[in-house]
């Protein structure tokens, strides 16, 4: 049985290449590095933009987020107990609501350091005092019950909403709806629970392992029971903090107004704060930054890939030219025995492609290992899409074809008589 001509050419190509194992291996290195760069580049770029996309989804693409940031400690005050006052103020919030165009709505968020109990179960969640718009602005979804309402605000009601994690920890066996939990010294009725959200590295809740779960209170309720001062106990020293608002989430009416509102916020804060005790996070800017990172990675790795493939391709061409010369007599024999020019072209082209694809396959393996290492050491997220190895494979086949063509053509156009006479 004669097998399919292509398969036979591939087998023959492998056989011929195995006659010079080391030479063949060295020849594949260029393609190997080129292809692995392609795979790694795509994985890192993909990871960066997926990360950004997720952050944006979570932070809201039409939002501008203002956060309080504790300024660097002034070295003058060195007592064990002191009050540091910093961060966003209610006045900032009022200014944004009242004077900024294009702002659809804004929610203030104040974070309280409180312990939460139900029966004998204790939890240290993020206790957030905020307004009813919080739900819509953050895009979070109710699991059960209802969210905080304007009526709760007006009545300064002792109600709260639990996120999935807090609900499951405090009420492992039954629904928390209508139950009361204790925050500090007071009781609060649970009126609703939230679905969990996907966490990213940028999520403050994920950063500190001690903080688990979220409990949401009406803003005025929080203010009434817990005041403005908070006590932090840190390495033996008591530290008092006065922060009016920890976060202001501003929702803009249309995406194209986001940069304008962000600029206005920055300008407003710069004018009204004596120190840099705030930050402005613009999810859309995160996307732009991620795209920039991706672009730089693509340029760097793309150049490495391009140069490696070029060098690899030239290496293949060089070795194939040597092979063709070495096997001049074989070419003559095959021509005398009936091989047409296209058969000879095919034979050497297949051999070149086998070389480059061999390098390509090894390169794909290396290219899959690089993102894995990057993820491990550089803490960058990477995503290997199925298209990446496919593209890399295609690139290696193309390299073999392009750089194998000239040697193959040289082989095919030899004069059979001359070739047979070759020593």
């Amino acid at each position: 049985m004669l097998h399919s001509p292509v398969l036979r050419s591939v087998r023959l190509g492998i056989k011929s290449l195995l006659l010079h194992k080391l030479r063949s291996l060295l020849t594949t290195l260029g393609v190997l590095f080129g292809v692995s760069s392609v795979v790694a580049m795509l994985a890192i770029g993909e990871g960066a933009s997926a990360e950004a996309q997720e952050q944006i989804k979570q932070l809201g693409s039409q939002n501008v987020i203002l956060r309080s940031v504790k300024p660097p400690e002034d070295l003058v005050s060195n007592q064990s107990t002191r009050v540091s006052s910093y961060g966003l103020t209610r006045l900032d919030f009022e200014r944004i609501i009242d004077t900024f165009p294009w702002v659809r709505r804004a929610v203030p968020v104040r974070e309280l350091l409180q312990e939460v109990r139900h029966g004998r179960r204790k939890l240290n969640p993020r206790v957030l005092a905020t307004t009813p718009d919080y739900l819509a602005v953050t895009g979070r979804i109710l699991a059960e019950g209802r969210f905080l309402s304007q009526r709760d605000e007006d009545l300064v009601a002792n109600v709260c909403v639990l996120d999935d994690e807090a609900a499951r920890y405090l009420f492992p066996f039954d629904s928390p709806l209508g139950k009361r939990i204790k925050i500090d010294a007071d009781y609060f009725t649970v009126v609703g629970t939230l679905l969990p959200r996907v966490r990213t590295a940028d999520d403050p809740a994920a950063a500190g392992a001690a903080v688990t779960g979220e409990v949401l209170l009406p803003q005025r309720t929080g203010q009434r029971w817990f005041g403005e001062l908070q006590v932090k106990i840190r390495s033996g020293s008591r530290e008092m903090e006065e922060v009016q608002l920890h976060e202001i989430i501003v929702e803009v009416d249309r995406p194209e107004h986001v940069p304008l509102v962000a600029a206005a916020c920055r300008e407003m804060l710069r004018r009204n704060h004596r120190q840099q005790d705030y930050e402005v996070v613009v999810p859309l800017e995160l996307l732009a930054r991620a795209e920039e990172t991706k672009r730089i990675f693509n340029i760097v790795l793309g150049s490495i890939a391009g140069i490696s493939l070029l060098v690899g391709g030239i290496g293949i061409m060089n070795v194939m030219l040597a092979t063709v010369t070495e096997r001049t007599r074989e070419i003559g024999i095959r021509r005398a025995l009936g091989a047409k020019r296209r058969h000879i072209v095919m034979q050497f082209l297949v051999e070149a492609v086998v070389l480059s694809v061999g390098g390509g396959l090894l390169g794909i393996l290396l290219g899959l290992a690089i993102p894995w290492l990057v993820e491990w050491y550089a803490d960058l997220r990477t995503i290997v899409t199925p298209e990446a190895p496919a593209l890399a494979f295609g690139v290696s086949v193309a390299t073999g074809l392009v750089f194998g063509l000239y040697p193959a053509w040289r082989a095919a156009t030899m004069d059979p008589v001359e070739a047979l006479r070759h020593e």
């Binding site: 004669l2 036979r8 091989a339 047409k340």
Partner: protein
């Protein structure tokens, strides 16, 4: 008698700068089917050049060459390749087996390149290997065989396409007298079966085994000799 190969005023001129070498100079001859010819002559007399043209790996500079009635000038490179693969068997002085292929694969090479190869190629190759006494060496590489064995593989290879013309250029030139004898016996057998054989040689002992002898001198036919009785 059927004519397999027909030469009319065939010349082959090599141009080397200003001077030209007339390797063949107006050769006209018909080779009939089933004939066994020895082509002889001193070195440089044009024997190999003639055989290359007869084998369609070289073209005459002028004149006409017909193989099995086909005018060579009418055929392009692919047609000539197909013609060689189907109707011509080559046996070379230096055996010219392909080193990375084993015995069986070497015998099969001419069938690889035919437009529609016969379905029973592999069986035929095995039968031919057995016929030349190498049935137990099918998976050996050429370098693992003696010269005589290699030449027998080459003969098996030249027979795989059931050729109209077997061309052998100094086929025994690299072999000792005993092995030469074996190979010549094989050619005798093939001749007895009705194959057309053209054998280039400069050894008289080899030449006398053929039915006819063509003597070349300076690219011309010097004499045609019938050997004792013929067959």
């Amino acid at each position: 008698m059927e004519i397999v190969a027909s030469l009319r005023e065939v010349s082959r001129v090599y141009k080397m700068g200003d001077n030209e070498v007339r390797a063949l100079d107006g050769i006209s001859h018909d080779f009939g089917a089933g004939e066994y010819w020895a082509i002889m002559g001193s070195s440089g007399s044009g024997k190999s050049t003639l055989l290359n043209i007869l084998g369609c790996i070289d073209r005459p500079t002028s004149g006409s060459y017909r193989v099995r009635g086909q005018e060579m000038a009418d055929l392009d490179d692919d047609d000539l390749s197909e013609l060689r693969g189907r109707h011509i068997g080559f046996v070379f002085q230096s055996f010219n087996l392909i080193p990375q292929l084993n015995v069986l694969e070497n015998i099969l090479v001419p069938l690889f390149y035919q437009d529609d190869p016969p379905p029973d190629g592999e069986e035929r190759a095995v039968a031919l290997a057995e016929r030349v006494g190498l049935g137990d060496r099918l998976d050996h590489r050429p370098l693992e065989l003696s010269g005589g064995q290699q030449q027998r593989v080459a003969i098996a290879r030249s027979l795989i396409n059931d050729p109209a013309l077997i061309l052998a250029d100094e086929a025994t030139g690299n072999l000792d007298s005993h092995t030469t004898e074996e190979i010549l016996d094989l050619f005798d057998e093939l001749h007895a079966e009705g194959k057309t054989i053209l054998l280039v040689t400069h050894e008289d002992e080899v030449g006398t085994r053929a039915q006819h002898v063509m003597r070349l001198s300076d690219g011309r036919i010097a004499e045609l000799v019938e050997n004792g009785g013929g067959r």
